[in-house]
Subunit: 241 residues, 2 copies
DNA sequence: CGAAAACTTGATTAGCATCAAACCAGGTGG
DNA sequence: CCACCTGGTTTGATGCTAATCAAGTTTTCG
């Protein structure tokens, strides 16, 4: 069975059309399912657009669904004991959010749309039933968990250590990966950069200004910009010495 | 069935004795198993002591087992792109390490014994067979994954932001939780503190000295110390203002 | 168009890194 | 047994990075 056929064409339910055209088929949580299962699930999956700045879910919310990101950038945010916001990782196309809901645990972090975002809401119940019948789904889930863990550890190792300039460069690298294959990436507000990289908005602003002067950042217009991948790599190399 | 009976008494295999006396029964990866399964698995589990500073597994190693920590403190360490060591979290009694092995993925971080450590080596094959027959094991695995993710995010939110003194205080809090219920906790070398908290050994040393003068740290002898929990909390509160 | 919000830039300061020099404990060998 | 070395630690002096304080400037939006 080819990837293209994973989601069946020509069924009547409106969500079936959305799933059929879904760009994240490579996110194969439901990839290995037989057609019978596939037809059944469309009914329960809600495809929802969320505006930039909107919440996908918040800390206090009842944890009864997971969300697949179809497009856009999402930040996972905690409040630490000191009371300040703290971004623990960014998620993008294909990532699965809020898996703690599957274990009946409260959400450990809020999921906030950075850009306009398209997510699929998948109720806990549906995943539970499905994985009972289809053991392959469980393996997929575990892979997703491991992926999230790897992302969090990478964020820690790459974006929370070293001098401010290096951290900013690594954030831009991350953002350009999330934007791919689009040419223009999303630039966070200086305040959001500050929260992500543990620096003040002034420091963030100074570094961004410097990178524009150095032509690492190009065509900056509002919250979108193009980046010179070569120059970024070069800047990272010299910052890593 | 009571918790005490989870691991059956009086069976012949030497490892059965170790498991029967195992202190981490609350780590119930194998908790919900019927007796028949329990008897079978002892044979395949290796209980191994590791000296302080020793590796449980390294990055390059073939990932063919997970490890349960029975006692001691373990640090999970990555090398970032810049080439410096970076502790992504600490693990203790009851934690499950190296789960990526279950997915046939290379270890994402090295696991290094901070104190003398007792771990149980559980081959991937065993977990695979067991979870095929016993679906409850899979849920336990997912809970462990979520737990690791939560730990990593907490490390990020609490131990990698804020001024040096605050980070040190939070590390001491974490270490005293890992040591519990023992009265004395393990103090890392100043160098290890530096790697965990992203500071120099000089800064770490100065802060530790200050905390001894303030009687937050008591009875420091080599790598062991007692901590005044009240004073620690008070110090944290005033650092968090 | 005017006000608010976001961003930029400059001047000063604080916190931590760096450099440098003791200090101490534990081993080793004379 | 003591002199000596070695690795970890402590403490001090100095310098750099980024925070803070304080204007400006641009963008956004009612």
């Amino acid at each position: 069975m080819s990837l293209i056929q994973l989601y069946r064409q020509g069924v009547e339910h409106p969500q079936a059309q959305v799933c059929a055209q879904c760009g994240v088929r490579q996110f194969a949580l439901f990839g290995a399912l037989p057609d019978a299962e596939l037809d059944r699930i469309h009914t329960h999956i809600a495809d929802q657009p969320i505006a930039a700045g909107g919440m996908i879910y918040d800390l206090g919310q009842a944890p009864d669904a997971v969300y697949t990101v179809r497009s856009g950038v999402v930040r996972m945010e905690r409040i630490n004991e000191r009371g300040d916001r703290c971004v623990v990782r960014l998620a993008g196309r294909g990532d699965l959010l809020g898996m703690e809901a599957l274990l009946m645990q409260p959400y450990a972090a809020a999921a906030i749309a950075c850009t306009e975002v398209q997510v699929c809401r998948i109720p806990r119940q549906l995943v539970a039933e499905l994985s009972a019948r289809q053991p392959a789904v469980v393996t997929r889930l575990m892979e997703r968990w491991q992926h999230a863990l790897g992302d969090a550890e990478e964020w820690l190792a790459e974006l929370s250590v070293g001098p401010a300039r290096r951290r900013m460069l690594r954030l831009l690298l991350k953002l350009s990966e999330l934007a791919a294959p689009a040419p223009k990436l999303w630039l966070p507000s200086r305040e959001d950069m500050g929260v992500m990289l543990n620096m003040t908005i002034e420091t963030a602003s100074r570094i961004v200004s410097a990178l524009r002067r150095e032509s690492v950042l190009l065509d900056v217009e509002g919250r979108r910009a193009r980046i010179d991948a070569q120059a970024l790599q070069a800047a990272l190399r010299s910052a890593d010495l």
